[in-house]
Symmetry: C2
Subunit: 335 residues, 2 copies
């Protein structure tokens, strides 16, 4: 592994100057500072925490959007801090904006701000740093996202195949034979994974794999106005939605159109956000334990920092049936 000496040698400067560049001392030029950081990244230098210094970890949170509501991120960060802070780490929350990514190279940014590792909540394929994650050296954990085979990057999330298989099994036991799936936009890695897992699970449970049984769009309006009517016309008696907020909107849309939930149609979300318990009827969901995801993310990041290269850490999901799921309407005799 490259040392400060290597950086100094490469640039023909003293080790003291390298050290000043890292510590943000005022008496070196910005150009020299940049040269040091760029050389550090080029040589694969990783900054180890000094023994008496608390490791600093950056938690990057994408702008809270419709698809990644506050609830989800907050519990996760709490779980992460519950393990990180007793371990002596300083946890810094950083909004992950497009601008931040455009103006900085990832490894350089982390070195400059003295972060030993980064956790990312809610990255999407369009994020500029996704490309950098393929070859970055900074210990990094992505929630529900994957960087192709970079040993320094770990993926943490729930097992989507298990989630879909368990959900479809429960619905099948209730007599549902035609199950549909409505998803948010497939620009998100996790929605892509869930979409593929839905079809794998259908095939596994011998419910066919007709691609018309699913619809996806970044726009909720399109999900409600195009995909929902189409799936209902095809005779779906149960619908799984890629996230709870979409499931809630689908349920309300059906109810406004005179459908009874769950008598005419069963609906199941994913994530088990607190809103699931306040809809009418209450919303069934596939639970991701957000606090435990946060703790797992800390474990993966702490391991990366100790040079244990975890590729993926997945939690068991749990299917929670509430008021929005009932027996299939057309097969009362079978139950």
């Amino acid at each position: 592994m490259a040392t400060m000496d290597d950086i100094a040698k490469r640039l023909g400067i003293s080790k003291g100057t390298v050290s000043k560049a890292f510590s943000g001392a005022g008496d070196i030029s910005e150009a020299m500072r940049r040269a040091v950081l760029e050389t550090a990244v080029e040589l694969g230098y990783t900054r180890l925490p000094r023994s008496r210094q608390a490791p600093r970890l950056g938690v990057f949170i994408e702008n809270m959007s419709y698809e990644h509501p506050n609830d989800f991120g907050w519990d996760l960060v709490t779980g992460f801090r519950k393990l990180a802070e007793p371990d002596g780490c300083e946890v810094v929350l950083i909004p992950l904006t497009a601008e931040l990514q455009r103006q900085n190279h990832y490894d350089e940014y982390m070195l400059r701000h003295n972060y030993q590792g980064g956790l990312f909540l809610g990255t999407s394929f369009s994020d500029a740093w996704m490309e950098e994650f393929r070859s970055c050296r900074t210990p990094t954990v992505l929630l529900d996202n994957s960087a192709q085979y970079n040993p320094a990057v770990s993926q943490v999330g729930v097992d989507n195949d298990e989630a879909m298989e368990s959900a479809i099994l429960r619905l099948k036991k209730l007599g549902h034979r035609k199950i549909g799936y409505i998803s948010g936009g497939l620009g998100s890695y996790v929605y892509q994974q869930r979409y593929l897992a839905f079809f794998r699970a259908l095939r596994k449970h011998r419910l066919g794999d007709d691609h018309l049984l699913a619809g996806h769009s970044f726009s909720t309006a399109e999900c409600l106005q195009t995909h929902l009517p189409r799936l209902l016309e095809q005779g779906c008696t149960a619908l799984i939605c890629s996230h709870d907020l979409l499931a809630r909107d689908v349920m309300h849309c059906c109810q406004r159109n005179g459908l009874r939930v769950p008598e005419d149609l069963s609906i199941l979300g994913i994530d088990d956000l607190p809103i699931c318990q306040s809809t009418s009827p209450t919303l069934s969901s596939i639970r991701q334990d957000r606090t435990e995801l946060g703790k797992s993310a800390y474990y993966a990041l702490a391991s990366q920092i100790r040079q244990i290269h975890i590729s993926s850490l997945k939690l068991h999901p749990e299917v929670i049936l509430r008021g929005s799921v009932g027996p299939a309407p057309d097969v009362p005799g079978e139950l």
Copy 2:
């Protein structure tokens, strides 16, 4: 969660008697002891470690066989103990025999011997307890094996898809276009996973998916006498083997028949056992860091005991090229 009181009530006995059954006290009958344990399992009772008592963890090791040599298990157990013992756990090694599994139900065995969790190295589909792992309550970690969706069971191993994709990418860059795969018997979960991953990786790298490019057998003789000549006749210039010992035997067999390694044929094993460095030429391999696998297994088990239900924890593998891999013989111009 069921308590000792629940067990006492169900059997109409005192809590003291239940406690005696667990502690192995001499003054209750074997029949009563068995009744208590069976009821405990039926009610889903899990024994929590008392605050002043070190948790006891059982590490089950299958009889050391050709396919699971000592090397592999030992480093793994060492990694596991390195984290478990400073945490105050007592680690007990237990030979996993067919007899042990036939004569005991798993949950009952663990309760009777006061183990709070179990790690299994080297289970195969034929193990009687595999069926019990689908519904057991004891926190359990399987190395390189999977129990269909039981929240109490975690799987730990390397990412086989990443391993195969990385290996095939490296061979492709050396000009190899026809790459074969020889595997041990597919009664082993990990060999099954690697076999499937081999074909997924071939497809991903656009090298076709001809099923004749692979062969598998429990018998090394069959691998050497049937599959090896067949793959060579098909024009394979590189062979990946499901484990290092098989790769070594394949290499020796080729050399005895006048083939030069790597000039005529490149050979790559999996596991990176110490023997890789003592063959001639030295054997290339896909490295699994055994110590880190052991540490990861402890983390998964400790999480299970704390009710964090990890489904899978996979490590990044590392392709290590040594003397046994070289450029493809037929395409010198391309290099």
